[in-house]
């Protein structure tokens, strides 16, 4: 009963999740909770299973074991990628993945939260509201001036921002953001932290990042993963003072 109450009111609830690739346990009895309008930063060494965890949440990888619930109720392990995305889970990939042969504008337009059916998409025409929304998003991610450029011609950092813009356009309840500031300048990093903090006022955000100054900037709860399990949890100061974390991650 207390367990049921524990799930209630969570945005994301992972309990005892494990997955093995050819016998190698990439995720090992992992339990993580994210509340509505909360930001969680996840740190951890390479190969800790951070990206794999996102794969499990978004339906790309099926866990061997454990519970993955969205919004306290919906069992994500039974759904496919598209269904999970339409529930309101958006994801930014570690390697920025935008649609390179489309313009910046079209990338956002495709991501915009609209009916995804075949005929709805075939006969879709952007109305004034959609145009205003896309413009607003492009302003937020500072790509309005490049709206007609092909995404292929953006810099690495700009692609990261475009992908964040696509996330915003999806209007998700939960955002999974994998290494958003890789390839960004210091100034861009600060901006990104500001933007994500802003988003987290109304939505749940899970950020994976190696850049410690960025994580500090976020000022959120921190979880350190290693070998597919939680090593330490708490504020960044608590976690980075943890001797095990220092030994296994920060100290190297």
């Amino acid at each position: 009963m207390s367990e049921a109450r524990e799930k209630l009111g969570t945005m994301l609830y992972l309990d005892g999740v494990s997955v093995a690739f050819d016998g190698f346990k990439a995720i090992n009895n992992l339990s993580i909770i994210v509340h509505p309008a909360e930001m969680l930063a996840i740190i951890g060494p390479n190969g800790a299973g951070k990206t794999t965890m996102m794969d499990i949440i978004t339906g790309k990888t099926r866990p061997d074991d454990g519970q993955v619930l969205f919004d306290g109720r919906t069992d994500l392990t039974k759904l496919d990628e598209a269904a999970i995305a339409n529930l309101g889970i958006g994801r930014k990939f570690q390697k920025p993945t935008v649609f390179e042969s489309h313009t910046v504008w079209d990338n956002i337009e495709m991501a915009l939260k609209k009916p995804r059916g075949i005929f709805a998409t075939l006969f879709y025409t952007a109305d004034d509201e959609d145009i205003a929304r896309i413009t607003e998003i492009l302003e937020t991610v500072r790509l309005l001036a490049r709206k007609d450029d092909y995404a292929a011609n953006l810099s690495h950092g700009q692609k990261q921002w475009l992908e964040i813009g696509m996330l915003l356009a999806q209007d998700p309840k939960l955002l999974l953001v994998d290494e958003p500031v890789a390839g960004m300048t210091d100034a861009e990093t600060v901006e990104t932290a500001k933007l994500l903090k802003d988003i987290a006022k109304t939505r749940s955000v899970v950020v994976v990042e190696h850049d410690m100054s960025f994580v500090r900037e976020l000022g959120s709860r921190v979880t350190c993963l290693a070998e597919g399990a939680v090593l330490a949890e708490g504020s960044l100061d608590q976690v980075s003072a943890n001797p095990v974390v220092i030994e296994r991650y920060l100290g190297r």
Binding site: D80, E81, A82, T97, S101, H102, M110, D149, Y150
Partner: protein, 391 residues
Amino acid sequence: MITQALFRALDKKAIWLVAILLLVAVAVPASNLLLPVDSPFRLPNYAVPLFGKYLTFAMLALALDLVWGYCGILSLGHGAFFAIGGYAMGMYLMRQIGTRGVYANPILPDFMVFLNWKELPWYWYGMDNFWFAMLMVVVVPGLLAFIFGFLAFRSRVTGVYLSIITQAMTYALLLAFFRNDMGFGGNNGLTDFKDILGQSISAPSTRAALFAASAIALALAVLACSAIVNSKLGKVMVAVRDAESRTRFLGYRVEYVKLFAFVVSAIIAGIAGALYVPQVGIINPSEFEPANSIEVVIWTAVGGRGTIIGPIIGGVLVNVGKSYFTGAFPEYWLFALGALFVVTTLFLPKGIVGLIGQYRAATTKREQHDRDAPTPMQVEAGADPQPKPAE
């Protein structure tokens, strides 16, 4: 809603293309029928169905391009949909022969009498009605594509594996249609047609009408494809081609997007096949040959995939070349075709249309260079809306 979609289809390039096709639809028959026999501008009788055939090939290439160029599905079995559309038309034409056949059986086509069949098989019912037969031209290829695509795309068969099973599909149909007991004339197929809609199939006026119908059908296919690729769904198709898994994470059902493109494409291919058969006067199982489907891929690649006009140019030019070659030096045609494909893949990844794009980019670049500081990135962007080569 639909008018908006149609409006979108009419971008400048599509308008030009449709206008040219409609012009051709009028000019070719007119030149053949109206000009005096000794006029240098008169098209000889044999040329009309020959050109008509090229147009149906162009339509087949356009159909393939919709799935391959825009959606990344390399079908090596599109000849099958073309052939099935052709067989549906052939069945109608067979039933029009009536008592003029060798055995003069009013119901059964000659080959059935020859096989000692007493009754028409159920799937031949209704095929003597033109409109019912035309419905089958659309429905049967569409249904086959739907079932095949549903199974393949739902199981996420992609890339080389998908190409192989499409090839297997057309091969299986080839073997099936070779069998006499299938009821499609076996090895010999369907031929010796007499009438279409009450008109003699070999009359110049009928051939002219068939040519015009082919040009108009191609124009309509251009409009349909253009409406699709200019819509948001068309953008999603390209997204599926370039980053399939990413598209899923945006919430699009990739399998349905592919299924839609595949079915529409199969229907266009089927209609092309139905127009092909009365102009060449025969349909037999060789149309299912895997090599035929591979040739379509070559036409499309040569013309330029991921564009509307590319496959049309490729479909016509390669086949004009083929007609010439098979007349002049028949034994070298396959070598020429192979060489063409290799040259295209190596030097013209975007085909003939890409070549024009490259030339334009070069001139714009020069102009821009003269005007102000060069911005190579933008120039490239402006000239490079075409797809990257598929894997």
